[in-house]
Every structure is written in structure tokens, then in C-alpha cells.
Symmetry: D2
Subunit: 340 residues, 4 copies
């Protein structure tokens, strides 16, 4: 049984394991007050090409989202997200638990549009309703789509013009940025969001998300918020070490590229076998649609999620990662082509 | 410069690093739904000697405290803690951020007494005040003292008689249970608390706390709370692997024993050199009092916290751990004896 | 300019003013610990026909909703409401501010259906999502529709079968219960909800909502919650006095009947003048649709809300109340009939 | 049985009842959007002698405190209060329920000192602890003492110098400002606090507190917060009408003066009868100490709270108000003098 269920099924890239092992018995300061953390932050600033950034490391994505969003908002302010947004659905009400409503908008192919934001603003007109303040987007999105630079810039400009913050969830940012359809850089992200994060849990690390705050006013006292939410890792260097390995050369992007390449093989093979897809998804998540009996057969050898059903059949979600074995990908296509 | 500042300055015991390395490329389910997690839970049940337990793993202590306490309480219910309790001071208001007041009581030598609880109950008499509901204690405490079994049982009996929950923070539980003064077992903890946790971050793991809920009603829907607080680790097996290494044999206790032994060498050597201590602390934290000029000299070669000052001098905190080098401990005493 | 904007534009029924005046200089206990409060509670129990009820008085509806719902739910539990539900939109995120997500469902004509609840349950399947726990309905609804007894009973039975709580917002309950389409009694409400409230702010009182908790387990320590939310009125007897006046005879229902009668005159007159309505609304809110130029003319003499626009024109909301003057209602119709 | 238990035992001054009665059937906008509210706000600005103020009306004190404090603070920021402060003890954790810790300091005679604030700042030194941000004081205090202008100015200057906000709870402000020991004006309060409120519930109104925000940045979007906390009264003019009556002439101060005069008669009479007091309390709360058998006798005819016991006897709390009858006050002294 080979799994395409997730991009967090395996551990970490071997060079990360090696870095953790090599530094294991060194004494360092706790809670991110160590020189590895300093080094990782500087490395990220260099990669992004900006010095004026406030950078913090987290263990997981929900933790990052809830800490950042609750730190950025006043009690009456709300989040605008697409209905399929991770914070909107799959975080057990983590944002609401910090007191903030999420305004869910329909979006298009998993992406938030300016029309969505505009409608949210029009609807929430006075103090009897929450005040929309933070626009949440994911790149790649929860359905595998990605934002183009023109879309990102347009969203940011709209936010700036309407006193809104733009926050980008980058749990799968590597896959977005190495997609063949992508034209966004890390530098763009820092310039055209107020804050975003770079996800490593799903791209080569044991765990780790790097929050990049470019709207520096939002970073004030930020470590207080991390600690209060239980998100300040005692052995903080573990996070730093992983980001150093991923960003000291090009490892982070190489790993994403592999994930995307594996998805491309799957996508092409499935298309070639005559099947359609639920959505345009040029990243490491694809949603092919198969007849029920094909899905049942595939489930004998492969693990994946059934996403939804429509008149064409069952859409399943296949996720690839830095660790996906090319042989298994070819095996999947081969198996599929034998099924009818 | 050798550090006695903390018991989380180094990484993990080598066997833990090995276990993580060995299983690195295996595919497992995410978020603790894997067989390592099952195995670790069963192992802990065996060690504790009880099957009817609800066990969950967390990355850190503040996270454990805030998730458990907010899950256990209704909005108007409050925590009773000693003033020096970790939740009371050093978690940036994490408990209050979930909506609950902490009632701080003086305690004795860092330990909560029945008189403290009684006074809190007498004072909080009606609905114009919060309702005390959960008694929070740490073992070992924040000042290195430990609870005796008779004290634990008395607290639990009092709580049972007054409809209170007893929760024990075991961030440094290993050191408490292997102290020469200890007479409490893991089994006792499960029997005489409603929930407690076993801290591994400060005893051999990269990170990890195992929450043991023996009052099963409190465990209902518990994974929802973990997720909501951003505390559900994607690669959950990392937590399980570490607890398996620590508890499959006696490693957890061996490591604590080493920490305590190192503290004993320090304690005896300091006593022998003619100095006094701020408190009775039979675990891995000791608080010797030195004149300012001695502290200044020690600071040239050793890192540690200045705790407080009194008429006798400066009390410093020395912490030992599973990783503390015996040579450094002897070196410290030797250095001390040369100073005047 | 006569206003049909709201049912809280005027003060209170004269008999309420008289009761407040007559008892003004008496000394009573504070915070609802007075004999008037006892009397009002007993009176409501008698009217409802049940003794086993936990009854509390509030100043306003949002206050009642947020206090009750946050008291009833654990942190991971969510509310199911129609999209147009008051808690969902018009309370500035009051429920989310207490930590709970509201799951918005489409409903039918402002009413929640069993299919809505079922869909919410199916979608929220595991601990990565909130757990739906409390079903929130309003009667009459925010668009003037009302629940039939068969609908209420079916919702309650469904909730009982699925471990859900049913909570009914009765801000405009009087108008619902005296609607010609109604077949629900106060006794039914106590039997077929876990809790509901009787709104008086919009039906003859200066202010006041009576929360009736029939699922007694939910009432435990309830006064703590009221106090914590800042909702425990110091001179609590003011609330009690008003409910005594409204319920010692039939005043509450007489006042609602008047509001409904006024709405009926408007409804019939508007129909007679050849206009349609946005929705079936047999209570004190009606939503006629007029061409823009008619609305503009009406706005010269009458205050009301523009609700929405569609291809037929502009739907406006007309609200009547216990205080609505019959002459003004006839005047409105007369004016309308002169306009083209 | 005559009650000295509280200053909210009776209703409202007759002129307030009259104003409510006289305007009862007028139609006005809801939620404070009416011309009475405008008028009341302007009246208060005139009385205070400042135009640049943000003024909002609330029904009760706990509501005012929790709404203002939670609106003013970011999640990691805490309140500094004396241990006897109303928010610290008698509001059922209302502030903590909005997420903020209250740091309790000893104070002197119920008043917070600069040393208290300084100690709180020294102790809360880094991001592992909450960040003290808002200093909460009450005037008169919970034990009847009052602040002098020099003390207020010194506190404010200290707060300004340390980036702290100064908030003054004026639930019993009238009594403080008309105390013979007072040298503070309403204008001073606006100049030397960031926000304060004028309590009317305990000084002639049915209910009502006027929050005066002079640090205008704190007032941004303030009505959202009021609504979210369920504190926006539907018939908002009821609050305005009461403040108009109290402040259009000098009624507010006349009523407080009466309360203080009655307390003075009690104080002098009790002193004259040879008894001592628990504290210096020059306002409408006094705390005489009597032997137990005297208290028992007094309890036969008078209602009051037993406050605490010490070696001299039982300290009781006697509260006078605008409604306290002078005959009853003389009667109390007469009765006392007959007792031995």
C-alpha cells in the first residue's frame, strides 16, 4: 500500500536529520534565543531580498495561523476567506476560539477574488456586524490552484486601498512557487502581503513554518503572542536548523520541484488514460475523477482521500511530496491503465 | 562557558535521534493516527499500570496546560495555583487567554497546601466571583521541591470532597519521581489526580509531553481541543517515537536519575564549601546563595539564572539535566572552592 | 415622519411605566435577589405550565444569546444557524467573541430545516473541524416567518436523536405566538427546546428578555455566566416588574396581537394596491416590493429599511409594534394608493 | 428593617422617572442613534470642559469595564489593579473571560500606588510573562477611600512615561468628587486618565454609566465593541435621558452630596459613640468596627454587610446613597447609642 494521502507521511530530508544529529549535544539558549535562529532568520532575509522583516518560526500551520491572526486583529475585526480556506474549515474553529469571525466567500477555483472581498465589505456595513480586516489566502490553495503575480498584486492593492491586511498561508508555498504556472517570487510575497508563511512541514522538514511579517507594525511584541499560544518551542534551534538546511542552498525549492514533477507525471498519465479532473491544479495536489469501480480497484494498492462525488464519478485527491517515489508514481499510472 | 541555565539546552538522547532516523522514510498516518502512537500509548498504560486512561502527546508544556485546562473548565470556572506556579506567571497569560482566572495562593516552599485551597474556596463564595474548580500543582515545583505521596493523596481527597479537579504539571516529573525524597509512583499519579502530564522535553526528548487523563469524562472529544489550540502535530509519530524510546525500558527514569545525581554533587559540594540554599530542593533545580563577588566570578565560566537577592546574598538557580556532564559539575565545585 | 423601522422606537406600555414609578422608592435586594424577581419567575412558570424551569432576566437579546450560548457550549462546539440568523450576522461576532464558530446554513424562508442540520453534521465529520452542538433558531425569524409546531417538534426530535441542543431566540416571540398562522404555545416551547427566550424589548417593555431553560443541566451555575458577561442588572427588579406587568394578565399577548393586526392591515392594503412581497411573513415584519419611485415617495413621510433589490423592485421592511398607531397604518395605505 | 447594604436598593430620582415618562411614546432611532443621546453627550462635554472626547453610555459597571478594557488591549496585555479592585474580584472573571490577566497588587487603603505599578513592571520583564499595559483604579475605591489630585496626576504621569494606559472606574465617582477631602474635577479626570466612567446606577439613575474616552485613539470603532459585548441598549435614549437629568443642572452632584452628608452623620455619630473604623473612608461607604453583640443587635433593625473581623470586633460596611433617609440615619445612631 503506497500513500498519496498527504505530504506529511514521511519524516524529513536526510540532510535535516543530519543537521539535528550533528548539533544534538551542543548547548544553546532556549525558546529561539540561539545563534542558529539568528542565522536562519538572516538566511531567509537574504533569500527574500529584504532586511526589514520580522521572522518567527512555528511548529505547525494552525498554530501559525491562529497566533498571527489573533495578534494582528482587534476583537471586533474579522477574517475574509474562501469557503474552502484552511482556517475556515479544517482548524476546528481555531480562529473563532481566539474571538474572531471568519467571513466565508465563494471564491473561484479555491482562490479569493476582489469581488469576494468587495461583497464582504458591502455586506458588513456598520457596527452591528463584524468589521472585515484581514484577508486570508493560501498559496497553493486547498484545491491545488495557485495565484498569479497579477492576482496577488491586485489583491494587495485592493487591501491597501481599503485598510485591510493581506495574510498568505504558505503551508504548501514551495509547491506553488515551483509550479510551472507560477510567476511569484519570495520577494513578491514580502512586498505584496502584510505577512505570509513558508511551510516546511509539507516540504522536507520534520515540522516547521516560517512566518514572515513585512508590515512591521504587526510584529510588535510578537514573541508574547507566540508564547501565550503555547507555540514557543523550548528547543527553538530545531526549527532554525531545518530552515537553514532548506534555504542555505536551494533544497527547499528542489524538494518542491520534485513534488510537482511527481504530480505532473500523475496528471499527464491520468489525462492520457482518458480521465478528467475536478479542477485546474498545477501544484502537488491533483483531483482526478474516476468511476467508482476504478476507485475501488485503486484503493487496493494506494491510499488517498475521496474528495467528492459528482455526475462524472468520484473525485479523489492525490498528493505528492518531496519524498514521493518516482517508481510508485509510474506504478500508479501503470495500474490505472490496466483498469477499466 | 558551561550552562546550568536550563534542562533544555541540548537536543535528545542518542537513542531518540536513532529512532527518528531509522523510521524517517516510512509512511504513516498523520496527526497521531499511526501505529507508533498506539504503541506509545499502550506502553505508558503498562508503565502506569492502568488501562482506563486517555493519553495524548503534546510538543510543549504551555501548550499542554492551556489545552487541557481550557478543555476541562466551563467559562466561569477558575484555577487555583501557587503564586510561583508556571501557569500563574511564566506562560504569558495563556490560561487567561482561554478565558479563565488563576487564583494565586501563597503556598509553602513552592507547594500548594490544603489551607490554600480552603482559603480560595472561602473567599470565592458566590456568583459575583469566579468559581474555583481546578487545582493546579507542579511536581517537581518551580522551586525544585517535590510532593510526598501523603500530600498528593490529601490534596486529591480534598478535591474530591469539594468537587474540584486536580491537575499536575509534570514538566519536570522525572526528576521528582527519581528524587531520593520521593515516594510517589506513576500509578499513584493516575490514581490521585484527574490528569497529569509526563514531561520529556526536559528529560531526554527533543520535545514532548504526555498528558494522562484518568478522569475519563474530561477526555471527551479531547482531540478537538488539541487541534483547535494548534497543538496537533502533523507528524505525530515523532512524539510517539520519543516516548517509546523513553519508556520501553527504563530510559526516562535513568536520565532523570542522572540529572538528580548531578544536582546532588552540586548540592553537597556547595554545602561543603559553606554556603546555604534558598529552599529545600531535592530535585534537579537547586538555589544556592552566594555573595555577589562570588556570583560574578562564577559567571565568568558558567551560565545560570540569578533568582533573587536577600540579606545573605544572591540566590542563583542551577539546573542539571540528563545531558549534564559530570566533569563540568565537579569543575564547578572545584572552581567555587577556589573563590572567596 | 412616522417610523416603521423598528419595534423598539417607543418606550414602554404605560402600565409598565406605572409599575416602575409606583415601586421606585422601595428598597430591595440587588442583582435579581428580590421578591419581584421571584414573583416574575413564578408567574412565567405558571403561564408556561411547568415548574421545573430555570428562568433568568436580561436587558437585551444579544446579551441573552451570547451568555446562554457560551454557557451551554464547550470550546470546540459550534452553533448551527440559518445565514440570516441574528447571531450569525447582526451581533458583531458576539458568539465568535466567546470562542464559538457559527455554521451558517441556507435555510428556507428564514427557517432552519432538518436537511440544513443534517448537512452540517455530515460535513463536520471529525476533530479537524468544529463539532456542531447547538441549533439556533428564531421565532419569528429575521424575515418575519414563523415555525409551525410540527416543524418545532421535528427539529427538537432530530436534535435529541443527534445529541444537539435546540435554542430558540424569541426576540419577537410575541408576534410569532399571536400570528394567525401560529399553533405553538409557551408550553410547547419549554417542551420542545432546551432553552428559549421571551423578548419584551420589542413588545411593550423598556427592555427585557426572559431566558427559559428547560434542560435543567444547562442552568447549572448560570448566574455566574450572567455576571461574567456584564449582564446582571444591579436593580434587577426593573426587569422583573416589567415581566410581571406583561404576564400577570394577558398584556404581553394583547400587545403582540396589536402589532400583528397593524401588520395585517398593511399587508392587506399593500396586496390590495397590487404589490407583491419578498416572503411569506405572517408576523409583525413584512417585506413588500415597490418600484424605486414609489419607495422614494414613501420615504418622504415614512421611515423604514430598504431590505434588498431584485428584478421586481425594492423590497422594504415595515415593522409594526404594540405602539404602532392605527391611524398611521391607514395613512400609509392611503398614501400608497395615491402613488403610481 | 432599613438597608444600608447598597447604594442601588431604590429606583431613580423622581425627575428621571418623569423624563422617562414624558418621552415614553416618542419615536426615536435605536441603539443610541437619537437626539437625546447627542444632547447628553454634548452636555457631558460641556460639564467636563472638553470637546475632544469619545462618550458612550452603558447599562452597568461590569459591562463598561469589560467592554472598554478588552477594546483597549491587545491579547498579551494585562491590567494592573489593587487586590480589592472591582475587576479583580467582584466581576466573576469578566476581564479574564475576554482574555486578559489582572495583576493584583497590594495597594494602600484600597488605592494603587506608583510603587505597586513599578513592582509589577519590574516583575513582568519579558515575553514569558504578560505585558502590563492598563492601570485600573476606582474612585472612590472599593473601601471608600478617594484619590487626591496630586496622586492622580502622579499616576498619570508615571503611566505616560511607561507607555501605560490609565483607566478609572467611576461607579461611585459622584461620592468621590463631592467628598470633603476631594480636590479633583471632571476636567481633571479627562486630562489625567485615558478613559474613565461616571457611574449613575449608584447615584440617582435606574441604571447608567457614561464612559469618557479622552485618549481618542482608544475610541476607534468603539461602538463595534459595545455591540459585540451585548452592551448596546436598543432603546439607547433611556440612558441619555437619565444623564441629561443628572447633568443639565447640578443634580448628579447634589445627590452625591446627600449621600456623603448621610455618611458623615453616621461617621460622626459612630465616632461619638466611641467606636473605631477599619479605614479612612471620606465617601459614602464607611466601615465601623463593633463588638459582635452590638452587630447582632443592629442587625435586628438594619441591613448591611459584615465586611471582616479583626481583634477589635466585626467591621461592617454601611453605604448611604442619594435616597438614604436622614431620619433613618439619625435613628441608626440613636439605636447604636442605646446599645452596649
Amino acid at each position: 500500500m503506497y500513500s498519496f494521502k498527504n505530504d506529511y507521511s514521511e519524516g524529513a530530508h536526510p540532510s535535516i536529520i543530519r543537521a539535528i544529529t550533528d548539533t544534538n549535544m551542543l548547548q544553546t539558549g532556549g525558546y529561539g534565543e540561539d545563534h542558529y535562529t539568528e542565522e536562519a532568520i538572516q538566511l531567509l532575509k537574504n533569500k527574500i531580498g529584504l532586511e526589514a522583516l520580522d521572522i518567527h518560526f512555528f511548529v505547525g500551520g494552525t498554530q501559525t495561523n491562529l497566533t498571527a491572526i489573533s495578534a494582528f486583529l482587534r476583537p471586533h475585526e474579522a477574517v475574509i476567506s474562501v469557503e474552502s480556506g484552511h482556517v475556515c474549515v479544517h482548524e476546528t474553529g481555531a480562529i473563532e476560539a481566539t474571538g474572531h469571525k471568519i467571513i466565508a466567500m465563494p471564491g473561484e477555483n479555491g482562490k479569493l477574488t476582489i469581488a469576494d472581498i468587495e461583497n464582504a465589505l458591502i455586506y458588513h456595513a456598520d457596527e452591528h456586524m463584524v468589521k472585515p480586516k484581514l484577508v486570508y489566502i493560501s498559496n497553493s490553495t486547498e484545491v491545488g490552484s495557485i495565484y498569479l503575480k497579477s492576482e496577488l498584486v491586485a489583491l494587495y492593492d485592493y487591501c491597501q486601498a481599503h485598510d485591510l491586511l493581506l495574510f498568505l498561508d504558505g503551508a504548501r508555498l514551495g509547491s506553488a512557487l515551483t509550479s510551472s504556472a507560477n510567476d511569484i517570487t519570495l520577494n513578491d510575497l514580502a512586498n505584496y502581503t502584510d505577512a505570509f508563511y513558508i511551510g516546511a512541514t509539507k516540504n522536507g522538514a520534520l515540522f516547521g513554518e516560517a512566518l514572515i511579517i513585512s508590515n512591521l507594525a504587526l510584529g510588535k511584541d510578537f514573541r508574547y503572542h507566540i508564547k501565550q499560544k503555547g507555540a514557543l518551542l523550548a528547543k527553538g534551534r530545531l526549527l532554525a536548523l531545518q530552515f537553514i538546511e532548506l534555504f542555505k542552498d536551494n533544497l527547499f525549492f528542489d524538494l518542491s520541484q520534485h513534488a510537482n514533477d511527481m504530480a505532473t507525471i500523475l496528471r499527464d498519465g491520468i489525462k492520457d488514460a482518458g480521465y478528467e479532473f475536478l479542477s485546474e491544479a498545477p501544484s502537488n495536489q491533483i483531483f482526478p475523477i474516476f468511476p467508482e469501480h476504478i476507485v475501488l480497484k485503486l484503493e487496493e494498492n494506494y491510499a488517498f482521500y475521496r474528495w467528492c462525488e459528482n455526475e462524472k464519478g468520484v473525485a479523489i485527491r492525490l498528493i505528492t511530496s518531496w519524498a514521493t517515489l518516482e517508481d510508485e508514481v509510474h506504478g500508479f499510472i501503470k495500474t490505472l491503465k490496466t483498469l477499466k
